[in-house]
Symmetry: C2
Subunit: 314 residues, 2 copies
């Protein structure tokens, strides 16, 4: 079985045919034109998809088109209600795609698409309950129960990054304070790294990033791996807050596995060993409560496309 999986992002819209083994065909890409109306962008996308299907001779093989989009969606009607990153409001994606293409269209939140991809074909393969967090500029969440995305009422749930772990804590983009996102996003790690660097002019981190605006999420990890005490404290603190958030999801869902993606997940064993130790040390107290492993995502940038296509592989 083959479906098209599409991933709409703030810089480009990418897609590919994906088969029900999770194999990804040649990827197509079109720029996301800032300022263009959502309607026009989707019309162009429909043309690109049509040409792609013709080129690969897939016309009679495609069972549907899955589209992952950021923002708040009406998945029943195939509408992007509101996507701040794209500056889209009430874009009738499914209807517009249907002007050009007759395949069934399914819309899915981009974080959910990535989670579904990883749960079915990546790091969460073979597991029933999978939680995925994308640690990027923000923190996206996906909840996979019995192989299906759990979306909540009107598909507005799954906002795992917007769970407060520190009442009255750091301000969050959502308007509340103390959300997990405000402590475990790359943005938050960079904020804390800069704070520590400003207070410790001798930190190794100044060698890695001689100017403060060069700091990204890899800087504290690189320095910590080289035993810089300031960086180690930044990382320990980061792991503590992220660990507390993950333990919350363990107690709520008791998932089989938690998958982390995003730039920070590239820190490798140095991060995952510490994070798994934290989760083990504070695992819920009842005897025989199964421990939850945290692992890096495996599908990279393809997870969203694969997950969007996988909406048709139930």
């Amino acid at each position: 079985m083959i479906a098209i999986g599409i991933d709409i992002g703030g810089t480009s819209i990418k897609g590919a045919a994906v088969d029900s083994n999770g194999s990804v065909y040649e990827v197509f890409s079109m720029p996301f034109v800032k300022g263009e109306s959502g309607e026009n962008s989707i019309r162009k996308l429909a043309d690109v998809v049509k040409k792609y299907i013709d080129k690969h001779n897939l016309k009679d093989k495609i069972v549907g088109i899955g589209i992952g989009s950021p923002g708040s969606l009406d998945t029943d009607l195939g509408i992007v209600n509101y996507a701040n990153n794209l500056k889209w409001e009430n874009v009738r994606v499914a209807d517009i795609m249907h002007e050009t293409l007759t395949y069934p269209i399914k819309l899915i939140n981009d974080a959910n698409a990535a989670a579904l991809g990883e749960a079915k074909y990546g790091a969460g393969k073979h597991y029933q309950t999978v939680i995925m967090l994308t640690l990027g500029t923000g923190v996206g969440g996906g909840i996979i129960l019995d192989g299906k995305v759990f979306e909540g009422n009107e598909a507005k749930g799954g906002e795992l990054g917007h769970t407060v772990i520190v009442v009255d804590g750091e301000p969050c983009s959502c308007g509340r304070r103390g959300c997990l996102e405000a402590y475990s996003s790359a943005t938050a790690l960079i904020r804390e790294t800069k704070k520590a660097m400003r207070a410790n002019k001798n930190s190794l981190m100044w060698k890695i990033a001689p100017k403060i605006n060069l700091v990204d999420g890899s800087v504290p990890f690189e320095a910590a791996k080289n035993n810089d005490p300031v960086a180690l404290e930044v990382i320990d603190n980061y792991i503590k807050y992220l660990g507390e958030g993950l333990l919350n999801f363990c107690n709520i869902f008791r998932p089989n596995i938690i998958v982390l993606s995003g730039g920070i997940a590239n820190a490798g064993d140095f991060l995952f060993d510490r994070l798994n130790k934290y989760l083990k040390d504070y695992n819920y107290g009842y005897k025989r409560t199964p421990e939850v492993k945290v692992v890096p995502a495996e599908l990279g940038y393809d997870s969203g496309k694969i997950g969007a296509a996988a909406l048709f592989f139930n």
Copy 2:
């Protein structure tokens, strides 16, 4: 259709026949004998149930026996792994019941049973996604998705009270710090009430509870309803922390409704009006995110029995 629903508690074991309309027959009750082995307690329970079924002439009408128990359960095998309140460890409930009775036996966590009862026949009736919290000595949680209990891996999820809302906050019975339970249980409210009373000897609360050990969860509510500023501050603070916890569940599940039970839920509109306002004020920022109502439970002490029986009414 009729099933037996049983609720095992630390002072008594109660049960009743329940029909698939949620109607509860005459309730039977036996004392929970502290110090007696779990095996003996269950053997006695089986005898009580057998006599009850004979007395009510239900022998050929019962489709199964649902048993709600506190603690950590193996719901597949019908074993109470560990229940601190009961001092039970590895009690093979289903096997022992089957020595006397041939009906199918299903075991369910007591908080989940109450949630299922409320979701199917009480305050959550007609709704798809229902979250229930029981605000008592601790905070029990239940997650109902599509009319079914979500239990997580090995039925060890759903511990909504053990989600940290203040990293490094108040110590919790589970070993972590800052759990929702440590801020929104009756125990927590009483702790904060006593603290406020000790610091404010003129508070009206001293009239209601002339000795500090008379303080229960109703004291600050009663005083606050009479405009005692100290009590109002205690209640505002209580609502803030509980509200933050509930907002977390809104963002994770975006449920249709949240149901609260336990002694504190008896505080009535005074509590629920303020709580609903808090949830409305901090509702997740995307446009058109549906608001979540918080309502009191409707079934009282019967919710557990009804929910346990309802395991057979799918």
